[in-house]
Symmetry: C2
Subunit: 351 residues, 2 copies
């Protein structure tokens, strides 16, 4: 298997280096051959090649079986024009790979539950997946521009979806629900948005093809409430790009372990893109103290979703559970009395 590694910015290089070592260990233990090629993205790509998404990076990713990303984003570029920012590299890569579905598992790690802002009893049974549409909607719709009118400046962004884009993400939502608890919650704002009404109608229409799945609809404002009030109620949530951005970060926060959560961005057959949910964390970059576990769990998702290596994925996830059960902690998840491990020490423990 060919894996393109995009270390990116901040703590990205530190955590992906450990994830690569972990995958190399998996290859040894299970008798696989993984080949790794590195490429630039984000601020690191701007520094090295003058653009957040070099053509060579896209070409390498497309030629590989899966992509492992660290993190993208560097404060020094925040003031520049949009197209030249690190984030533009990530958005461009999602589009180039056509990874239209972002899977964000929201799970609680029992040894870390104390770090959650939610009460223990609210956190029971929390185990759901948010399936976020990733290549449409306000993120990519045009026109997106400033317009000088007779009455002054106006600015426009466009929430645009084709019915086919809505269909494919909803189908994936149904399919993932079929593999899990068979309950799909479709989140929209159908009382205001026309796109949400098409979304809701499409969800209803497709339901006939997935009769074993229970479908219900939630308005996005209500969903934002329910995720705090009773997150244990969900099995699979499917929603459009921007709603998914907001709700999946809210969902990550309730677990208390945002530094632990992985994500997978999948397309229709091309390479998947795997990245931790945490960002580039510039404040702790370069210190060797970042938590690599989210990157490890992203690698596990790669093993499972891109390579069909289920035992290997399970082994990685169990190793992560084991180090937590053994009381090993990086600084971000350390409690009073814990001696924090470095990134490398945590990597070695999991391997």
């Amino acid at each position: 298997k060919h894996i393109t590694v995009l270390p990116g910015d901040g703590i990205g290089p530190e955590v992906t280096a450990e994830a690569q070592k972990l995958l190399e260990e998996v290859a040894v233990q299970f008798g696989h051959t993984f080949e790794f090629t590195a490429a630039h993205i984000g601020g690191a790509a701007i520094d090295a090649e003058g653009t957040p998404l070099p053509e060579q990076t896209v070409a390498r990713c497309k030629a590989s079986d899966a992509v492992l990303l660290g993190a993208v984003g560097a404060p020094k570029y925040d003031r520049g024009p949009a197209s030249g920012r690190p984030e533009a590299g990530l958005l461009g890569l999602r589009k180039a790979l056509d990874v239209f579905a972002n899977l964000r598992p929201i799970t609680v790690f029992p040894p870390l539950a104390a770090a959650s802002p939610l009460k223990d009893e609210v956190l029971t049974n929390v185990d759901f997946v948010i399936v976020r549409e990733l290549t449409g909607g306000l993120y990519f719709g045009t026109p997106r521009e400033r317009i000088q009118t007779d009455h002054g400046l106006e600015v426009v962004d466009t929430l645009r979806y084709s019915e086919q884009e809505i269909e494919r993400i909803l189908r994936l939502g149904y399919q993932i629900a079929q593999q899990r608890g068979k309950r799909l919650t479709s989140v929209d704002k159908a009382n205001v948005l026309e796109s949400s009404r098409v979304w809701r109608e499409t969800a209803e229409r497709l339901h006939a093809e997935y009769p074993d799945v229970e479908l219900n609809h939630l308005l996005v404002d209500n969903a934002a409430m329910q995720i705090v009030k009773d997150p244990g109620q969900f099995d699979v949530i499917v929603t459009e790009n921007l709603f998914g951005d907001i709700l999946s970060d809210e969902g990550a926060m309730i677990t208390g372990s945002i530094g632990m959560l992985p994500s997978a961005s999948l397309g229709a057959g091309g390479p998947g893109l795997y990245e931790p949910v945490h960002g580039s964390a510039p404040d702790i970059a370069g210190k060797g103290i970042a938590n690599p576990l989210a990157s490890f769990l992203s690698a596990a998702m790669m093993l499972r979703h891109s390579f069909g290596m289920f035992a290997e994925a399970d082994a990685v996830e169990q190793a992560v559970q084991q180090v937590l059960a053994d009381g090993l902690r990086t600084a971000d998840i350390a409690g009073p009395g814990d001696t924090p491990l470095s990134t490398a020490e945590m990597g070695e423990a999991v391997r």
Copy 2:
């Protein structure tokens, strides 16, 4: 003062009837004259007059000093076309009255804090206001339509703002911050949306006029996390319409008392629109058990913001605090062992 009462749907008529009685009592005790006129909105207006926002309703509201709304929304209309739904009445009224700013105070009622899903220590010092833009953005932008293309159906909504709309809501955010803790958090998605970049630039530019206010920016996904993680950090949050819809409901939920929270929608001089945050709650409508306290606190906001009656507003708010301190509860906020009061009994207690 002329007050238009729009009872609306579900529990709306029950809670506004009590709020009107409370305002009548305020008039007696403080020597004012309030005149009340009722009008239809939402599902009730569809039933009575065939449209969710009759012209007469708009005319009456415009001719009055303030508007007290109950709730809008009835399941039986959910399937109909958008323009004929109860919610269209509310959206139309906001636009007709040009109430461009929705104020949502997020406060914790100490006797009710146990109902919050958040841990006690996370809930300390929670006292902030979300200032939501209410008449622009995706809610009203055009085009909003389905388009048949060569490749099938497409659907479009438009996030449109004029610079002037962005300016006036940001100014209000600054002004409210000046009257409170002098800290303004502007929420946007400037790493993706052009409208958010104009929003952020405008916030920066106006800052020169409000140098005593501390300004910081938060991306909306991060804001959704911070509201759960550390809600005590906020003083005033200002944001665009849809972000404000999502975040203010999330903010309401963390208090554990969504049935208690009021809102004010204000324009540039015309009558303000006051309504509880809770919806029409069709499941308990007509039973006389709805909690009228959010409607009372909305009436208090009316006294303060539309009439400048500060002592009167304080008196209402203190009365609400007092009944809670006395252990009086409607069913929605009753704990084990409490004997729930009816809507009317709670109204009488507060009067």
